[in-house]
């Protein structure tokens, strides 16, 4: 069961060859067996899942066709609101917070008959690229447990890579789905901004955040994407009217597809193992008949600064509501109102979160707004224009996801600048609101997975997924799992 594709498992469940209970309990057992190794799960919702199992099985037995992933278990990044189920953002601030409502995506999954079996580890409030900053400890990379799983959706990628769950949801603000996918050898989609409702996603940076699927291959991702995408009256920024229509194909050729290759992404600051693997993917596209067109990506040196200014500015406001008064952590020895604010927030937030809140407050403060925040918005506008022009020339852009493979736990934690520069290839996609898929394309000298991304024009997920599927039809990296090593 653990080596099947999710769509195959789903079909077996629909055909009643595998019961929902077998599937759900099988994965729960697997999580219980392996979670002390990976620490991908923060909360296991065993009872909630088992209750749902009966209901969904009954529906399947009565012939009701809920969806193409009906009966399949799923786990959710712990910054997505689940009614009655702790949603912590891996923060002391929310370590006991139980939401009263479901995020729209959770409602959609449950309506589709999927079974939420747990909440996944992450960097605190999705701020980080290594899943080391959460209060519940580091998530370990299933390929090498001494290494990070990436972040911030490290739990979401590690749980899929470690076969603890067939599918998961992550969120991507500056690369938080794609980078852990690259580090863990999984496949993930960061959808177009506005393709998936953010209602119920505990905001880090509202204008950049998007929820997306993580799975072992692009087909499973696409199936999950078809369930969560589409309009939502509760989210004004969710502008797509229709949900993604899932279809499969067995194409192996991509004649006529124009693939942009940003030459300057490969010149410096990139590990040779990563470069080689990504270039091998480029070769594969060429072999499949695609036209590879090199170009110079503009504004490269401004991407990371613009991203951190905008993301932190929004974060400083979004995280203000965690004030120790209404829910979440409150310092025990606060005596006055200002002490409640000061002590609860000083004690409740971790270092990286506080660093970003301070940075964000600074760039929005009077006297600095024009010099930083406004400039960053202008950069963002220029970047959007640049991408618009590029997509008149290309169908997709191919790029590395991260300059390195998974690094050792603790290796970069004290060097925020190095961490931030690790986002160089991913943040522009969020600034421009574009969709991107991260796909595995090989291993480096240490046997660690390498991923690349395909970036598409806004709301071009159909084309993006089709091209990704052709790539995976021709390659087998997405099927190279850790299962051999796990015996």
């Amino acid at each position: 069961m653990f080596d099947l594709s999710t769509l195959t498992l789903a079909k077996l469940i629909r055909d009643r060859e595998v019961s929902v209970k077998e599937a759900v309990c099988g994965y729960i057992d697997e999580i219980e067996r392996t979670n002390n190794k990976y620490n991908a799960f923060i909360t296991l919702a065993k009872e909630r899942a088992l209750e749902r199992v009966e209901i969904i099985q009954a529906k399947i037995d009565s012939g009701e066709d809920l969806s193409l992933l009906c009966g399949v278990p799923i786990a959710i990044k712990d910054n997505i609101s689940t009614a009655g189920l702790k949603t912590t953002c891996a923060s002391k601030m929310l370590s006991d917070y139980v939401p009263v409502y479901n995020a729209t995506v959770v409602d959609k999954l449950e309506q589709a008959g999927m079974i939420v079996i747990g909440k996944l580890n992450m960097d605190e409030f999705a701020m980080g690229g290594s899943s080391e900053t959460g209060i519940f400890g580091v998530t370990h990379n299933p390929f090498d447990e001494t290494r990070v799983a990436g972040g911030s959706s490290g739990g979401s990628a590690a749980a899929v890579a470690g076969k603890q769950i067939p599918l998961s949801l992550g969120s991507d603000t500056g690369g938080s789905i794609r980078q852990p996918c690259a580090f863990c050898g999984t496949t993930g989609i960061k959808p177009t901004y506005g393709a998936v409702s953010r209602y119920g996603l505990l905001a880090y940076a509202s204008s950049l955040d998007q929820i997306g699927p993580i799975a072992n291959n692009i087909n499973d991702c696409a199936a999950l994407f078809s369930l969560i995408s589409g309009g939502d009256i509760k989210d004004s920024t969710c502008v797509s009217e229709k949900s993604f229509a899932f279809s499969e194909n067995n194409e192996e050729r991509m004649e006529g597809i124009r693939v942009g290759l940003p030459r300057n992404y490969f010149t410096s600051g990139i590990d040779s193992g990563v470069k080689e693997a990504v270039m091998s993917a480029v070769k594969e596209f060429e072999a499949a008949g695609a036209a590879i067109i090199e170009f110079e990506m503009p504004l490269l040196e401004y991407m990371v600064p613009a991203y951190y200014i905008i993301a932190c500015a929004e974060a400083s406001s979004n995280l203000s509501r965690y004030d120790g008064l209404k829910y979440g952590y409150r310092s025990a020895d606060a005596k006055t109102l200002s002490e409640v604010y000061l002590k609860s927030r000083s004690e409740g937030f971790g270092l990286e979160v506080k660093r970003r809140i301070m940075l964000g407050s600074f760039v929005l403060s009077s006297g600095y707004y024009d010099a930083y925040y406004k400039k960053a918005l202008q950069t963002r506008a220029l970047l959007k224009d640049a991408y618009n022009r590029l997509f008149t020339q290309f169908d997709v852009i191919i790029s590395p996801v991260a300059p390195t493979t998974a690094y050792k736990i603790g290796e970069n934690i004290d060097d925020p600048m190095k961490m931030y520069m690790g986002d160089i290839y991913t943040v522009s996609v969020n600034l421009a609101g574009l969709p991107a898929a991260a796909l595995p394309c090989g291993f480096d000298g240490d046997g660690l997975p390498v991923g690349f991304q395909l970036i598409g024009d806004a709301f071009s997920e159909e084309k993006l997924i089709r091209i990704a599927r052709i790539y995976q039809n021709r390659t087998n990296y997405h099927n190279t799992t850790i299962s051999a090593g796990r015996k």
Partner: protein
């Protein structure tokens, strides 16, 4: 040189939409604490705002009625600050592109007309309320008011006296009431005004201003302006400097107290609200809003004169308050007697209101009962005395006019025999007055009419009484 007061006003009006600005919760005043809340307006993590279009329509309606320019490409911004009544720790407001700019309103004080500039009108969400419980020294939060839509109407510093401020506020209140966008109940906080005030020698540059808050009635605003003017003049005359600060008015003490100075002023770190799309008002929507603007006071004033032949003076009184003009229109429609209705409301009803110390906004009389009364007096079923008496009873105790008239025997007596008998009796009892009349004292006639009326319990048909009396005297 004389001192001059310079005032600018920031008026907050709660819009009377049914639901809140960003969620479907009711805007109803009061209710059990935290009973009108949902995850959105209580700021639960992960929730998002959804703009109520009706709020935009009300704000635009107000902007158009005040002659402003509507910002068709508008947007919202976040104003960040920590306070327990603000669950998200930011208020969604408008800084960079408010919905309306460059409006204004003409006021009149002591016969002098003047236009007060309105710099902008912007939309925002209201905050909750803190309830301080002194007994156990606890503060509790009530989020019912969180997310109730507000417009803030920001004037230019164009006022030079408290009278001008009050004239503006009166007129603004009536306009908002006529527009149907705000119920303007200061005691419930649905209309609030902050006063920015400075003083200067006439002709000089603007002085340092203070901002005064917690002004809960027009009276308090008048007093606060007077107090603050004197306070600032005193400081300046003693060679001191006015501190730029926010002050809190204490109406019981009749004093204001400094809350925070500019040095401690908050930096609100405004930035565009990323959870809402920019707001675009297309021509069609704008036209629909224009078409939805109800008739305002001046329109009604002209129509009353033109269609009903009501005097300018009466038309003015009738339209000064929406409550009065609403009542007038209901009574004239029901009775079919607009002129009589106008007389009634500008005369007797005003008199009764003054006596009872009731202001127009609190006037509550049944239009149906007033129309019944008008029809009774015009058709001669009752005379003017009975009309007034019944009116007072309707006004005070909401009695049913027909029942009251029957019970009190107020039906007009037009039976010539009964009137003739009363005349005979009065002439027999008042020989002195009779003699006076005969000796040429016209006044005595009036006295005798009064006596006959009295004999008839005030219900005599006045024309008949006069005629019968004249006839008897000329015999």
């Amino acid at each position: 040189m004389k001192w001059e007061t310079v005032v600018g006003l920031e008026v907050h009006a709660e819009l009377s939409t049914k639901s809140k600005i960003f969620c479907a919760c009711t805007t109803e005043f009061g209710g059990e604490p935290n009973s009108h809340v949902c995850p959105v307006c209580s700021g639960m993590p992960g929730t998002l705002p959804k703009l109520n279009r009706r709020v935009v329509e009300y704000a635009v309606r107000t902007g158009l009625a005040l002659g402003g320019k509507i910002t068709v490409n508008s947007k919202f911004d976040r104003k960040n600050y920590f306070y327990p009544d603000l669950p998200k720790a930011y208020q969604v407001s408008q800084l960079y592109a408010p919905i309306c700019r460059d409006a204004g309103m003409e006021i009149e004080v002591n016969g002098n007309k003047k236009v007060i500039g309105i710099r902008e009108i912007h939309m925002e969400e209201d905050a909750g309320k803190l309830i301080h419980d002194a007994r156990n020294n606890r503060t509790q939060m009530d989020f019912n008011r969180c997310g109730v839509p507000l417009i803030e109407i920001v004037s230019e510093p164009d006022f030079r006296s408290g009278e001008e401020v009050l004239a503006y506020l009166e007129k603004l209140r009536e306009t908002l009431l006529y527009l149907g966008v705000c119920d303007c109940k200061m005691q419930e906080g649905s209309l609030r005004a902050d006063v920015n005030l400075s003083v200067r020698r006439e002709g000089e540059e603007l002085g340092t201003r203070t901002e005064m808050k917690n002004l809960n009635s027009f009276k308090a605003i008048g007093r606060a302006i007077e107090y603050e003017t004197e306070r600032q003049i005193k400081i300046l005359e003693w060679g001191g400097k006015v501190t730029q600060e926010t002050r809190r008015w204490d109406d019981d003490k009749g004093e204001s107290f400094g809350m925070r100075s500019k040095e401690n002023a908050q930096d609100y770190r405004y930035f565009p609200e990323p959870d809402l799309l920019p707001l675009y008002i297309d021509d069609e929507w704008l036209q629909r809003i224009k078409d939805s603007i109800p008739e305002l006071a001046h329109g009604k004033r002209e129509r009353y004169q033109r269609d009903f032949g009501i005097s300018e003076k009466e038309a003015l009184v009738l339209t000064e308050h929406k409550n009065i003009s609403d009542l007038f229109e209901a009574v004239s429609a029901k009775s079919g007697e607009p002129l009589e209705a106008a007389h009634l409301l500008t005369g007797e009803i005003m008199y009764l209101m003054n006596n009872a110390n009731i202001t127009p906004e609190f006037l509550a009389v049944d239009a149906g009962k007033l129309s019944v009364l008008i029809n009774l007096v015009i058709s001669g079923k009752i005379n003017r005395n009975a009309y007034k008496e019944t009116l007072a009873a309707v006004f005070d105790a909401d009695v049913d006019p027909d029942e009251y008239i029957a019970k009190q025997g107020l039906k007009m007596v037009s039976d010539t025999n009964i009137v003739g008998d009363a005349v005979k009796a009065v002439l027999a009892e008042n020989t002195e007055a009779l003699a006076d009349y005969r000796s040429g004292k016209e006044k005595a006639f009036g006295f005798l009419v009064g006596q006959v009326m009295k004999k008839l319990g005030g219900t005599g048909n006045p024309e008949l009484v006069r005629k019968a009396l004249k006839d008897s005297l000329s015999v």
